[in-house]
């Protein structure tokens, strides 16, 4: 049993906060809530809305038709034709089933316009047949505005005289964790031993900067002049011994490229949080997409190895952040945590805790007098040491073991081949980190990566004979594992939030297998799970 609520209004009317209050109430009562956030690139005016899918079973996505809706503000009328047959819409708009006049109600209680949303939330609880006490309790998080919001909610509840569609559930007790991708990455980084987060503001990566700037843990969030300054300082700080993560979206990542290449030759460990939005260029700043995947895989000029990890939900993001730090420090590489707006800014509910597969360390050696910054080794991995205790060198130039510049043919080959051996070592390491996951059973296979996981997992439950292969490591690519899954299937399609289906090209590059069937979406919106189930059914017909 499940239902879906849309809360829509003008930016600045407290839409996101209303959604959070309702979500947390239901989660605290044992429900599972998925909270999708849709907003434009504006601070006031224009439309914002949140979609809450609420269920007694785990849910990881939403769809586009609603059982309940709060519609206020002049931009929300397009939701009117997205109501289910017995759906109830409440609000100030012409055409809603239960028209309310919150501005009159707040006048009666002598409150400010800002609590109009609380009036409508109270009405919503009446329409859902839910206890108003639960909402009022949740409003305690409003701080000094608690009281007035609670009064407004009660008043809305009492005033509502529209239809009631009472929701009855038998929810199972147990732990519930309510978390967005941004929060999971932030706490995951702290849990993984991060010292510094360096960034320049860019949607949708910015929430991580905000979160880490506020935490009480002994870490620092630092905003520098631009993304070139950010990644350069990140490499400098890591060279000096700090555990560093930098963060950005596509445009900022483009600026970082010359220094990502510097990472490749200097072999200084660093983690980069790359949160995609649709491009090219400014694109659609506050919406979602996976179109930067090939750009990230091929980032940085020159030939060198890197790690690109694509978590599928916040729990995975938390776990995989530890792997990003572990691999970066152990193999002196760049680890990219590749996410997108949908994963970063949606809230998910889980009933269990993640466990780290690895334990990141700084991986520093005690420097002896004969320490070599780029020691030639069998596995290509040179021990890491830092300045301050002895001589340590880092360089953008081709170099010898000491880190001194070389241009002689033989010496160049020795160092290039050392880095090539490291690529192989890294491949073996990633094999142990569950680079793929298979969900469901069936002869038909859909393949995807990243934030599409939620809608796919929810969609295949509605389908017969269909399983889902999730690829979590895009680089090094788990070629054998992916090849095996494809060869064991009768029909295969890829699913991607992009216009071209880049994962198909990546699979062909690494396995030689071509997948022609592509389910794509490129309007800045994530897949709805029902929408996706229909598309998969159609594709495999």
């Amino acid at each position: 049993m499940e239902f879906q609520i849309t809360i829509a209004g003008e930016a600045g009317q407290g839409i996101a906060k209303s959604a959070e209050i309702v979500s947390k109430d239901f989660v605290s009562r044992g429900f599972y809530v998925f909270n999708y956030r849709d907003y434009g690139s504006l601070i006031r005016g224009g439309e914002n809305f949140n979609v809450l899918r609420i269920s007694d079973e785990p849910v990881y996505s939403n769809d586009w038709t609603n059982d309940f809706a709060i519609l206020f503000g002049k931009f929300s009328s397009h939701h009117l034709n997205k109501m289910k047959q017995n759906g109830i819409s409440i609000g100030t708009l012409e055409g809603v089933q239960a028209k309310m006049n919150p501005s009159l109600i707040i006048k009666e209680i002598g409150a400010n316009k800002i609590v109009e949303n609380a009036v409508l939330l109270g009405a919503l609880y009446k329409a859902m047949g839910q206890p108003i006490e639960a909402l009022i309790k949740q409003m305690e998080t409003y701080g000094k505005h608690t009281k007035v919001n609670q009064i407004a909610a009660q008043k809305g509840y009492d005033t509502y005289n529209g239809e009631v569609n009472e929701i009855r559930f038998n929810v199972r007790k147990g732990n519930r964790y309510y978390v967005s991708g941004s929060n999971a990455i932030s706490q995951g980084a702290i849990a993984s031993g991060m010292d510094l987060y360096i960034a320049y503001p860019m949607t949708p990566a910015t929430p991580v900067l905000h979160i880490l700037a506020r935490v009480k843990d002994d870490v620092r969030a630092i905003q520098l002049e631009n993304e070139i300054g950010v990644i350069s300082a990140g490499l400098g700080a890591s060279f000096a011994g700090a555990n560093v993560m930098v963060g950005t979206s596509g445009g900022g990542f483009a600026l970082m490229n010359e220094a990502l290449s510097l990472q490749g030759i200097s072999e200084i460990p660093i983690v980069t949080y790359m949160c995609m939005r649709p491009g090219p260029a400014t694109g659609i700043p506050t919406y979602t997409g996976q179109g930067d995947m090939q750009f990230v895989l091929n980032s940085g000029h020159g030939e060198y190895s890197k790690v690109v990890i694509a978590p599928g939900d916040p729990k995975e993001a938390f776990e995989r952040t530890a792997e990003a730090f572990y691999l970066a420090n152990k193999y002196r590489v760049l680890s990219v945590l590749l996410t997108d707006k949908h994963l970063a800014e949606s809230d998910y509910t889980f009933d269990s805790s993640p466990t780290f597969r690895v334990k990141p360390t700084r991986n520093l050696v005690n420097q002896s007098k004969d320490y070599l910054s780029y020691k030639i080794t069998e596995d290509g991995n040179s021990p890491r040491a830092v300045p301050g205790k002895g001589i340590a060198r880092a360089t953008s130039y081709e170099h010898d073991e000491m880190g001194y510049t070389v241009e002689e043919s033989e010496k160049i080959k020795i160092m290039v081949e050392k880095r090539l051996r490291k690529a192989k070592t890294l491949e073996d390491a990633v094999k142990k980190l569950e680079p793929i996951t298979v969900y469901g059973k069936g002869k038909r296979l859909v393949i995807s990566w990243g934030s599409t996981k939620g809608a796919i997992v929810d969609a295949i439950k509605l389908l017969e004979d269909t399983r889902f292969l999730q690829i979590s490591y895009l680089k090094p690519f788990p070629s054998e594992e992916v090849k095996k899954e494809i060869e064991e299937s009768l029909d295969v399609a890829i699913i991607e939030n992009s216009a071209t289906g880049q994962i198909a090209a990546l699979i062909r590059e690494n396995t030689g297998l071509e997948i022609k069937k592509k389910i794509l979406k490129y309007d800045g919106r994530p897949f709805g799970y029902l929408e996706l189930a229909d598309k998969i059914k159609e594709m495999f017909k």
Binding site: S28, G388, G390, A394, T395
Partner: protein, 284 residues
């Protein structure tokens, strides 16, 4: 006695002023070690890309041979990772005043704790002779055969305007004063900028021009006077120019790493506690 020499083959042009700058840098480091100001292993030489950057290979300290224009942000990071390190950042005029100018202005503002030495030969030398932002108008660079159409910028007054806490100019052949100013810059707490006038003997030899026009300042001065002095020479080739050298300005204020509590992270936490229990923070 610490040996600051390396056995790398030097590839500067014979007679290049960089030899003098390198020797002054080694002298400064060596004296600071002997005076107990810092230990050999505390020094890090950071460079950009250009002729100046070869210095990385020729001085036996820890080092970071960075990217063109990016020596400044790289050094910013080093001081954030371990504020105890003594960072000497070298850059060229094309390097820092063209490619890296935004980093220069912002570094002056946020005051990272290191010395920035700009080997300013008013030319791109390693790319064989194109004009930079400090080349004089009319100079026939290889990309401007009819003469540089642009007037030069004055990086010294710019640094003052942007808030640099230590601003100086020296001449590459003045061993005594260059060494002393380098030492003062390394000892300064904050962003210590020294523009080193360094004629390029191959592509832009203005030795004769600057030789008789330089005079020594008895600074540092208060801000307004420092700015007046900084504006005395506009980096042009005007015949009646007077070129002040020495320290223009010095003040002490919190550094970038002060603002983030001066943590030497790998020393504060040799290993961090890895704690997946932080997930519990999301419990509702």
């Amino acid at each position: 006695m610490i040996n600051l020499n390396t056995s790398e083959q030097n590839t500067w042009c014979p007679g290049c002023h960089n030899f003098v700058i390198l020797s002054c840098a080694k002298k400064a480091v060596s004296e600071l070690i002997n005076e107990g100001h810092a230990k050999h292993e505390d020094f890090v030489t950071v460079t950009g890309i250009g002729c100046h950057a070869k210095l990385y290979d020729y001085i036996n300290t820890s080092g970071f041979y960075g990217l063109h224009g990016r020596a400044i942000p790289t050094a910013n990071g080093i001081t954030l990772g371990n504020p105890k390190l003594k960072v000497m950042t070298f850059a060229g005029d094309g390097d820092v005043y063209a490619e890296g100018i935004s980093h220069f202005i912002n570094a002056a503002r946020v005051n990272p704790n290191y010395a920035l030495f700009v080997n300013n030969n008013k030319i791109f030398a390693l790319t064989t002779g194109q004009v930079t932002p400090t080349s004089e108008k009319g100079f026939p660079g290889r990309s401007t055969p009819k003469g540089n159409p642009f007037t030069p910028m004055n990086p010294v007054s710019l640094a003052l305007e942007a808030g640099a806490s230590f601003v100086a100019r020296e001449y590459s052949l003045d061993v005594k004063n260059l060494t002393e100013t380098m030492k003062a810059a390394i000892k300064h707490k904050g962003f210590a900028y020294v523009d080193i006038i360094q004629p390029c003997i191959t592509f832009h030899n203005f030795t004769e021009y600057v030789k008789d026009k330089m005079y020594r300042l008895n600074g540092p001065f208060e801000y307004k006077k420092a700015m007046e002095k900084a504006k005395e020479w506009d980096y042009s080739d005007s015949a009646d120019a007077k070129i002040p050298v020495g320290i223009f300005y010095e003040e002490e204020r919190p550094t970038l790493s002060d603002l983030f509590d001066n943590k030497n992270w790998s020393e504060a936490y040799p290993e961090r506690k890895i704690n997946s229990a932080l997930w519990e923070r999301f419990k509702v």
